[in-house]
Symmetry: C2
Subunit: 204 residues, 2 copies
């Protein structure tokens, strides 16, 4: 029997799997694998099953593509949210980021990507027709574009704008500008320029 | 349906399980859970099964308590290692640390803990009788104590010494001293004092 890296192929595999996670190096992976070894069997089962269940049983909302445990997601089915506003984002994580601010009470539309010829993602690969359908329902009054800046994000925003600008809906975009606590001196000129263009009445 | 933290209990559970790992906060846990969601099913199964298999099928070497896929561990069964030296360590991780140095080719004896009245761990809870048995076999010539300093480690080392000092075996301990690259100025006096006591002939 040859001496493998950690004397056990089972441990090797556990370390390798932890190390396959983004941002986890081999040293941390070993620490985590040994931690798993020290847990009781029920704890390890609960850990492992969480991901099997997540992958095996997750649904996506037919309206907005949000993940959901079944059918329509909690956002789209919540009567307390403002169903007249839809915010278009690239991914799930953007939804969580916006929710964390507590400043938005409308619905979402998750594209799951942006137009990227390099990655072979065209407009037809994104659920933009579905967005048009949702707007055609008549309840929606405003669409907020919250895609990343950069060529691909701007292209996607522009494409969506072209698709929906003829519909009776206001298209807005989240404000870009100098971040809170940022020094003007260290802000790139594009951001600072945009910030100047979009200056607002001062509210003391 | 109430709006739970991430709109999905399956995702909540996955985030919670990642966050239960040492050193993983909720933000990282969310990032990891979304990463799992983006993997294909086979990838998630391999990930989860690694820990179920580790916990369900791991064996411990009856000689040294090292983890092993079956029976005697790769250390104890390796004829190229020096079976006349046993290094006593607290945990598996210590073995990996020592192996990384490439400076030790003997066997190990993993205690799995140290004497700690606070945690209710007495000498009888540690495999010290098994160590005495191994030494009584007659092959062992030296026992290297490599337990942590601090009251509990020292107590354990002393207890083991008392148990085996009457046997025909040399008992040694790993050297303590100023680390490579450490400034004398910033070294605690206990370490520096020990370092001075244990000074060695200078080899240029």
């Amino acid at each position: 029997m040859s001496l493998n890296r950690y004397s056990s192929q089972l441990l090797d595999e556990a370390v390798e799997q932890f190390a396959s996670l983004p941002g986890v190096g081999r040293k941390t992976a070993l620490r985590l694998a040994l931690h798993m070894l020290s847990r009781d069997e029920a704890g390890v089962e609960r850990f492992s099953n969480a991901f099997l269940n997540l992958k095996g049983s997750i649904h996506y909302c037919p309206e907005c593509n949000m993940i959901s445990d079944d059918g329509i997601c909690p956002f789209c089915s919540d009567p307390r949210r403002d169903h007249s506003v839809i915010c278009v984002v690239e991914s799930l994580r953007d939804v969580f980021s916006i929710e964390n601010t507590g400043q938005y009470k409308g619905l979402y539309h998750i594209l799951g990507g942006i137009i990227s010829p390099m990655d072979g993602i065209g407009p037809g690969d994104l659920p933009i027709a579905e967005l048009v359908d949702r707007i055609s329902g008549g309840t929606v009054r405003e669409v907020v574009l919250a895609l990343s800046t950069g060529i691909e994000g701007e292209t996607t925003s522009f494409y969506i704008y072209k698709q929906i600008s003829s519909l009776p809906v206001t298209v807005t975009a989240i404000a870009r500008g100098v971040g809170f606590g940022d020094d003007l001196e260290y802000t790139d000129e594009l951001t600072l320029g945009r910030s100047m263009q979009n200056r607002q009445p001062f509210k003391p």
